[in-house]
Symmetry: C2
Subunit: 344 residues, 2 copies
């Protein structure tokens, strides 16, 4: 049905070896053969069969990326850092979006099949406990982003100290009734950020802890989604003004944005009534003038993919792990607290 190198060989009066050599720019072919082959290939509109190439070369020129279901700007940015490199290297990108933990298992199995892809980038996903063993043994090139594991190359941030710093900033503004909007209780960044928050609160005894609040309804993306932020903030806003925190630390920008919407719906102003600080500095944060902790998201993506290429070349490389420290970006959703007992 479709034209193969045998067709070209026959038409051009050469062997398939020569055709293959020409098509792959192998040096040892005469100019004459080269021209003839190229001519015929062009005339026949030859297009190589990708599956056959993969099988024969034992290389797929494809990289698999597994990340939470793309429903979120964080991943848009991460991918941005990855795509350019792939284009430069002429590699394809196979993308899996994970909704539920079970899917991760499924995708992992697919991803490491021979002939499927040559390397794997896993972002923002905790590995199943039985996973590392199996894959470390296979020695399949894997790089982790936004997560840490001793057996793999990792590029991630220090969640604990960043959350600590974010909370400290609210305290430094004079807030002494602070609460946290957290994510799902079993995602590691969520846990780590909560720990940083708690440490900061504990160190300042004059600050009352408004608690760490987990979303109940929408747990997509580990609770790092807009609905979750909206839901939790709505809960906080139902408290009496005296019980209500004057500042809130959201575990992610996208939740902070949900919280901002909840405030707006309740007729409250940010930062006049309640200050909000987020985490990540996704693109949207700028639009919302959101104070936040900036993660070098795009940079993580870029470093990760570059490392993956190096590892695909040389599987015996020593493991590389890099931790980054987010920086505080002050915008306009944080301010000193309102007086709690206004003159009547």
């Amino acid at each position: 049905m479709s034209v193969t190198i045998y067709d070209i060989a026959r038409e051009a009066g050469v062997g398939v070896g020569t055709v293959s050599r020409v098509l792959n720019n192998h040096p040892s072919v005469s100019a004459k053969s080269k021209e003839r082959v190229l001519d015929v290939a062009d005339r026949l509109q030859y297009v190589p069969n990708a599956a056959a190439q993969r099988l024969a070369r034992r290389k797929s020129r494809t990289v698999t990326i597994i990340m939470p279901h793309i429903s979120n700007n964080y991943f848009v940015e991460l991918l941005g850092g990855v795509q350019d490199k792939l284009y430069d290297e002429d590699y394809d990108m196979l993308l899996y979006g994970v909704n539920q933990p079970q899917q991760l298992q499924h995708y992992l199995r697919r991803a490491i099949r021979a002939g499927h892809s040559d390397g794997l980038l896993i972002a923002s996903l905790d590995l199943p406990s039985d996973f590392p063993d199996m894959y470390v043994k296979r020695n399949f090139p894997i790089v982790l982003l936004d997560r840490h594991h001793p057996s793999f190359d990792c590029f991630h941030i220090d969640n604990v100290s960043s959350a600590y710093e974010a909370t400290r900033y609210l305290i430094s503004l004079g807030h002494n009734a602070i609460a946290m909007i957290s994510g799902n209780n079993d995602s590691s960044p969520s846990i780590q950020r909560a720990r940083g928050y708690s440490t900061a609160i504990a160190e300042h005894t004059h600050v009352s802890d408004g608690g760490i609040h987990h979303p109940g309804d929408d747990l997509r993306n580990d609770g790092f989604n807009r609905n979750a932020g909206h839901e939790v903030m709505s809960r906080l806003l139902r408290l009496s003004p005296a019980e209500r925190p004057t500042a809130v630390f959201a575990a992610s920008d996208i939740q902070a944005i949900g919280a901002l919407h909840a405030m707006k719906e309740s007729g409250l102003r940010c930062p006049e009534d309640i200050s909000i600080i987020g985490f990540d500095d996704i693109d949207l944060a700028r639009y919302y003038d959101l104070t936040t902790m900036r993660q070098p998201i795009r940079r993580l993506g870029k470093l990760g993919i570059e490392r993956l290429f190096r590892r695909m070349e040389d599987a015996s490389l020593p493991i590389e792990q890099q931790q980054f420290t987010p920086e505080l970006v002050i915008r306009r959703t944080t301010a000193p607290p309102p007086s709690r007992f206004p003159v009547v």
Copy 2:
């Protein structure tokens, strides 16, 4: 190096045909063989070679998606509608993000190679003029999203009539000095929306056309970006109050938001001083209380991928083209014009 069906066949004392049948759940195998093969496969930790399967089956179980460089919520939504279906069908998704027109050519060539993917979804991208011929002939399954072309299945919206309606709405509010913030002059939605605008203006002779203004600086994403909206609006605001339009139609929400920021910086209020209507109804629109034309983005993605699967099953299907009509969503950035000659 890695274990093949030959290894399994040998160990299990059967032929490779039987192994293959067992692995593919072919009905005619004895329970005994089945058990033995499965046992050995499990013990040897067998994983099939994807490239070999593709070559032999002449199917890749992969769908390619080409869209503008993902930098934008629009595409997050679109992909959301696509991924679920792919998971259900157990297909892989190969994703290409296009930055510059030349990349599109490159990706198209890759995508239609045999053994690469079984179908192609192209979103929000104008096809190169020489493309259709080549691919129509090959009969490769292709579905277009957010664009129209007579030779392919298409799911898109009626840009002309929506822009017309948006403009009419401004006129109905009493505005008679209106301008448009447009995108890059060679993207088709940009052109179509400008046409709808012009038609509406032309039909109302008492309305003075403030012109169609294209961004000069930032042409990313066809000019559908925040900077572009900001830049153009700033230009309009430098006009004297008498020359200034009282209402503006922005070709996209994201530009409208840039325009809103420009107004704020100039100390002007929306809608009191100038009304603004956007286009798309992205997530942010709600937050900014932006009046806009709502596109069924997620739905387009879902319909597109479903159609693609049907076409992959049956390439001889007649072409299906569906055009949707965005709906007007009235929020709070539009109002009747201020009196143009206020009493001093």
